[in-house]
Structures are given as structure tokens and as C-alpha cells.
């Protein structure tokens, strides 16, 4: 009596997936912990302590304002994750129904959605962020919205692609014979079978979101002080990098590690699902 989900346990044998998933979770945990506790509060500025080297009191040293680097990295990680996650949520919540609708309607409706999609693809998150910032001023919410809007066509495309390859399968037709409406069919038959595609894409978009948040904050369009994010730390580091390279190295390396972890997890997921992706939702591969 095996269910397709029993194989989740066997998934963790895959090395990429294991390393990636664990590392990502570790960083996530660090971020969460920072909500309740950091070694030092990041709002306190103490110029006399500025630019210190790593020591027992400050494991990664202090920045140009005397703030503890470890605390900054923890809070920064949290912000980066929050922004990236909300952006993925926006993209998925809007994009997936759009993609499913496009696949199920066909004709003029699908054409319209595809055109909107192409259009959204052409707007890098940066341009949207510029527009929003000009109107409303910079903030982390800007970054969330800008990256979120950018994620919409990605999820729409994945959802549509998956739905299209399932649409021709007989069990979808059988569901229609049983009198099920399109929404019910989407919920019961299509979504569960494209869930794997979407999860893999979500991991990728999460990684991209972290990079995007960093870029936007770096140029001042995203997170604003006194909050901190990994990108914002780099913005500050820009001025002082020559004096103290660690100000730039530490947040940069953190970003790299998080992104690699997420990408590894995504790749691992994709490899595990690949033989099943070929038979997406039960379609017969070449026997």
C-alpha cells in the first residue's frame, strides 16, 4: 500500500537535497531566532566600538556604527527571507490561478493572459521598484511588491505548462464526465499533480528573491534603516570596504551561502522528481 508520498522519506538520501534542505533550514532558523533574540540589539549605535575585529565579545566584529555583526547578519537574514518569501507568495497566489485559467480557457482568454505574462516578463523587478519608489518612497515593502510582481509570470508559466500537459490526460476528461466543474477539477486533479513542479520553482524563485532584495536594498530602493537586510549591509559596506573589507565580505558570503543552499535543495528536488516529471501526473513515458 505505497502512496507516492511515502517516497518523501527516500528523497532525503539524495545528497544535494539533503545538504541544501538542511542548510536552508539552518539559515531560516537563524532568521527566526533573531525575532526574539540577538546577541546585541541592532538599534544601538556605539561609535566608540566601531570597526572592531572579531573577538569573544563580537564573534564577527562590529560595523562602522559599532553594531554587532552577528546580530546584524541574523536580522538581515530574517529580512531577506521575509521579503523573498512574501514575493514568492505574491507570485504564486496570483500567478498559479492565472496559469491554470489560461490552460483551461484557451482561446481569447488564454491569449490575453499570455500577452500580459510576456509583458510582465519584460519588466525586471528593478524597473517596477523604481516606479514604486518614485511614487511612494523606498521601503522593504517596495521590494516585496516589485519582486512579487516579477514572480507572477514565472508561476503562471509553470502552472500553465503543467496544466496543459495534464489537460489531455484521460482522467481529467473522466472527471468532467463525472460532472465536476473546472475549479473542482483544478483542485482535485491538476494542482496535486503539478505541486512538485511548483515547489521546485518556488525554491528557485526564493533564491532569486534573496538576490533581488539584496540588489534593491543596495541601491537604496528596498529595506531602509534602522531595519537591516543583507543588501543594506552591503550598501553601508560600500563606503567603508577599503578600510574594513569584512564589512562587505560577511554579508556577501552569507547571501552566497543561503542562495547556494536553496539552489542545491531545488536541484535535488528536481532530480528526485525528474523521472516522475517525465510522467507528469501519470502521462505515459516512452515504454
Amino acid at each position: 500500500m505505497t502512496s507516492p508520498f511515502d517516497s518523501i522519506k527516500s528523497w532525503f538520501k539524495h545528497p544535494s537535497l539533503r545538504i541544501g534542505a538542511i542548510a536552508s533550514l539552518v539559515f531560516l532558523l537563524i532568521g527566526f531566532v533573531s525575532v526574539l533574540w540577538t546577541p546585541y540589539p541592532i538599534e544601538t549605535v556605539s561609535i566608540s566600538n566601531a570597526m572592531q575585529d572579531p573577538s569573544l565579545a563580537h564573534w564577527l566584529g562590529t560595523d562602522h556604527l559599532g553594531r554587532d555583526m552577528v546580530s546584524l547578519v541574523m536580522k538581515g537574514t530574517l529580512t531577506s527571507f521575509v521579503v523573498a518569501t512574501i514575493a514568492v507568495a505574491i507570485g504564486a497566489v496570483i500567478g498559479i490561478p492565472l496559469g491554470l485559467a489560461a490552460a483551461s480557457w484557451g482561446g481569447a482568454g488564454e491569449w490575453a493572459i499570455l500577452r500580459v505574462n510576456d509583458f510582465l516578463f519584460a519588466f525586471p523587478a528593478l524597473i517596477i521598484a523604481i516606479l514604486i519608489t518614485t511614487l511612494f518612497g523606498p521601503s522593504a515593502i517596495n521590494a516585496m511588491i516589485a519582486v512579487g510582481i516579477f514572480n507572477i509570470p514565472v508561476f503562471a508559466r509553470v502552472a500553465r505548462g503543467g496544466a496543459l500537459s495534464l489537460k489531455t490526460l484521460d482522467y481529467v476528461a473522466a472527471a468532467r464526465l463525472s460532472g465536476m466543474g473546472p475549479i473542482e477539477i483544478a483542485r482535485r486533479h491538476i494542482l496535486p499533480n503539478i505541486a512538485s513542479l511548483i515547489i521546485v520553482q518556488a525554491t528557485i524563485q526564493l533564491a532569486l528573491g534573496i538576490l533581488a532584495e539584496a540588489s534593491l536594498s543596495y541601491v537604496g530602493l528596498g529595506t531602509q534603516p534602522p531595519a537591516t537586510s543583507l543588501g543594506l549591509m552591503l550598501k553601508d559596506a560600500q563606503t567603508y570596504a577599503l578600510l574594513k573589507p569584512s564589512l562587505a565580505l560577511i554579508p556577501g558570503i552569507t547571501i552566497i551561502l543561503i542562495v547556494i543552499a536553496l539552489n542545491l535543495a531545488g536541484d535535488g528536488l528536481r532530480d528526485q522528481l525528474d523521472p516522475k516529471l517525465r510522467r507528469l501526473g501519470g502521462a505515459r513515458g516512452v515504454a
Binding site: 502512496s3 476528461a173 473522466a174 464526465l177 463525472s178 465536476m180 496535486p192 499533480n193 501519470g282 505515459r284
Partner: protein, 526 residues
Amino acid sequence: MALLKVDNLTVSFAGTPILEAVTFMIGKGQRFGIIGESGSGKTMTALAVIGLLPEGATAAGTIAFDGGPLPDDEAARAKLRGRRIGMVFQEPMTSLNPLETAGAQVAEAMTLAGQGGTDVKAEVERLFTEVGLEAAHAARYPHELSGGQRQRVMIAMALAGKPDLLICDEPTSALDLITQRMVLDLIDRICTDRGMALMFISHDLKAVALLCTSIMVVRRGKVVEMGDKLDVLGHPKQDYTKLLLAAGRQRGRALMRAPIGTDMLVVRNVTRRYRQPDVSLFQPRPPLVALDSVNMSVRAGESLALVGPSGAGKSTLARIIAGLDRCSDGEVEFDHQIYHGHDLPKSLRRDISLVFQDPFGSFNPRLTIGESVAEPLRLEQGTGFDELGQRIVEVVKAVGLSPDMLDRYPHEFSGGQRQRFAIARALITRPRLVILDEPVSALDVSVRGEVLVLLNRLRADYGLTFLVISHDLDMVRIVADRVIVMDKGRIIESGTPATLLEKPQEQLTRDLIAASLPDIGIVPVL
């Protein structure tokens, strides 16, 4: 001296053996057939001989071609391929480079093998004509050709190097009946004309019997029986061979059935058009007419078969009747209620059901088989919980399966079992009309017979009315009372199976009958 000698060939893939100790010989000009069902390893045999085993496959044993062993070196093997050994693969669509014209690909095969001389283009055109294509086809891209045409291009490519041995791996399974016969006749003719040896691989016993003089039967990677055609087919020694032969004959008797009553379903002037994208603003395209004013009826208790070549409109008509598609004109009447397809009233939906062709695609892999089979019960509002449970059990038993299988998932069952579940799902609402779309063509030959017997029994026991779609006239003979022949969206002939087969009126019907391969046991005099 043997042209090809295979000794103790064992092929493993990721540790699992696919072929075990396979040994056989093909002489010059000899026609050798390999018969096996899916998973028997027959394709691997062909790939091993031509040296194209997929990555990850390891081979042991010896293969000797024309006296010398198959070289290990990739470059040396490449020289053998095309020049001495040609191969025709199973899937013509993906086997051709989509970005190059057909002619260019055949020309390359020619020049690689050193043939064609100074005027390759003319030689290519000559070759095209030999395989039954037109010279104009050379300039087309693969996606612009039909399945049968693509397969002919593949054959032309294999022949271009004038090989001594031609390997064909299920060359006709992706084609419709009439084209199948034409391609088989073509292979027959060119082998005779050129004196080529042939290694013909198929699951279709009749095709192998038609073309080959020696036969080898494989099952799960092992050789079951091998020998001269007359010996193997006339006096099979092994049980498996006997099973295949018996299934191939499909001599089921139509069982006693319920008396035939009045019209249950009437189709009036049903037309289905599809809009085609225009070539340009100034060159509008006329719509594609899939069904053209079709008129027919099905009487209660009868079993009506729809036959015809692919593209005839049979599936389109079935889908409209089942309520999955919409007709552009005309109407359908069932039980005195009129509808046009999509607007099939919900109250009628449980009276009409559909069994799909492909057992692998008909079930959602994430739901248990019980959940899928029970899905149509949504249409039975107001029936008590207990009764619903009873129905599921009843219907599963009726198809010969056990209710404790219901908690399992589709991938745990074989194709034949899944098809039985599909039938169960179709019967669960106690329908009056059951539409069956090619119900057995996706199943292994050895299983088809049982399913057909089951269908006949269910029809008799429950007084069902069948509408069967098929291209297989043998199957139709067993299952149907009346046959309608369709072509290009129109009904061209109808009658009982017996009258149609003895006195076909239309050319197409004659073609369909001719395309059917001769029964085994009636061996044509060579």
C-alpha cells in the same frame, strides 16, 4: 556463413538484467522476426546489434557481423552503421531532426555511406520514389509530414547506405491500419528487391508471420522459443508461445445478448467544425470539418462499432455524445432529451459513460483507485452512504477484481487490471449507454482476449448498450452487432460485421479489410 551471429548476449541496465543469454543467427538475405510483448527486451537486442545501447547499459557476450566481432571503438562501429547495418526506429516523430528537411537528412545518410555518386539530389529523389514518397517531400520538414510519411523517410534513410542487414523495431505501431499494411508491404518488397537480410521486431504476431521466415519469441529478456516460422507457429512447444498464438486468434464467440429495442440514442445532422488559423490576413483558411452532417442511431441493447482510419471523426463523435465536446450544428437525442454535447443535462450524465483507451492515463496517480472509481458517484445525489459503498464493491466484483484492491494506487496495477477498473468506473452509475474508445488496443495481446470476454458478459448480464470505437476489425467482429464505417467526418457504409466483411461496398471499407493482416494458421504459400 551467418551474416549476424549473436552469442549469449546479456544486457544490464543499472544492475537489472534486461536481456539474458540471448543467442541467435541471421543468414544472408534471411528474414528473422523477434516477437515479444512490452518489457521483453526486444528493442535492446536491436540496439545491442547496431551498437547504440543507451548510456548506463552494459553488454556481455559476443556479437559477430560478417565473420568479425563488432568493434569496440565508437568510430569503427560508426562505419558499420549505415553502410552495412541500417535501422528503422519506432517513433518517427522524435527520430527525425526537426530542424532539417527530410531530403537533407536522407542525403546525409547517403553521403556518409559513400553512395550517391556525383548527383546526390537525384539519387535521393529516386530513393524517395522507391519508398512511396514524392520528390516534393524532400523539401519538407518533419513536422510537415504525416506519421506514415515520416516512417517512409526513416526507411529511406536506412536504405540509403545499401546495407546488408535491415533492422526494424516496431516500425508500424504508431501508424493507422491502412498505412501499417502499406509500410509492411514496402519492407517486404525492398528486402526482396535488394536481397537484404531483415531483423523485424514487433509485438504483432501477424505482422511477423507475414514478413519473416524464422521467428524468435522473447519474454522478459529470455528466449522462449526459436525456429522456422512454420514450426514455431504451427507446432508451438512452449506455453507462452501458445498463449500468444491463442490471443492472436481472438476467436471469441459473441455471447447471447439482451434483445434489441427501440432507438436509445439518435444523432441528427451533427457537424463539428474547427477554426484554423489563417495563413495571412489575405489568405483565410476554411474551417476544418471533423464531422459532416452525421446521422446515426443506436438501439437499446445493441453494440454498435464505429470504425475508420485515423482522422475519420470517430472519437470526436464519441466525445460529443458523451458530453465532452460541443457540436457546431445538429443535435443529439438521448432518451427523448435533446442536447448538443457540453450541455448534456446532469441527470443524463449518469446514463452515459465512457471507457478510455489508455489505461495509463485514465487514473490520477495521486488518488487511490477506489477514489477514482467512485468519482462518478457524485452524479448520484441523494443516494445513501451505505448504498454507495455497496455499489463500489458490486462493480469491482463484476469486473473480476477484488474490493481490497481499492486502497491501492494505480501504479501498482498492470495495464489489464487498470482497464478493468476503468470499466468498473464506467459502470458504477449503472449507465444505459457505455462508449468504449479503443478499449483494448493499448493492452498486451495476451490480455486483450480476457477483457473482450468480460465486456460481452457485462453487456449480457446488465443489458447495456455499447458504442465501440476501433480500428481493429478482428476485435469488432467479436464485440459488435452492427458496424458503421466512417471517413473524413462522414458515414460511408454500415451493416453487420459479416455482411461488411463479405460484401464491402465502398473502397475504403475494402481497404480496411485488405489492410488487416491474414490470420495465422492460414499460411500464405510462399
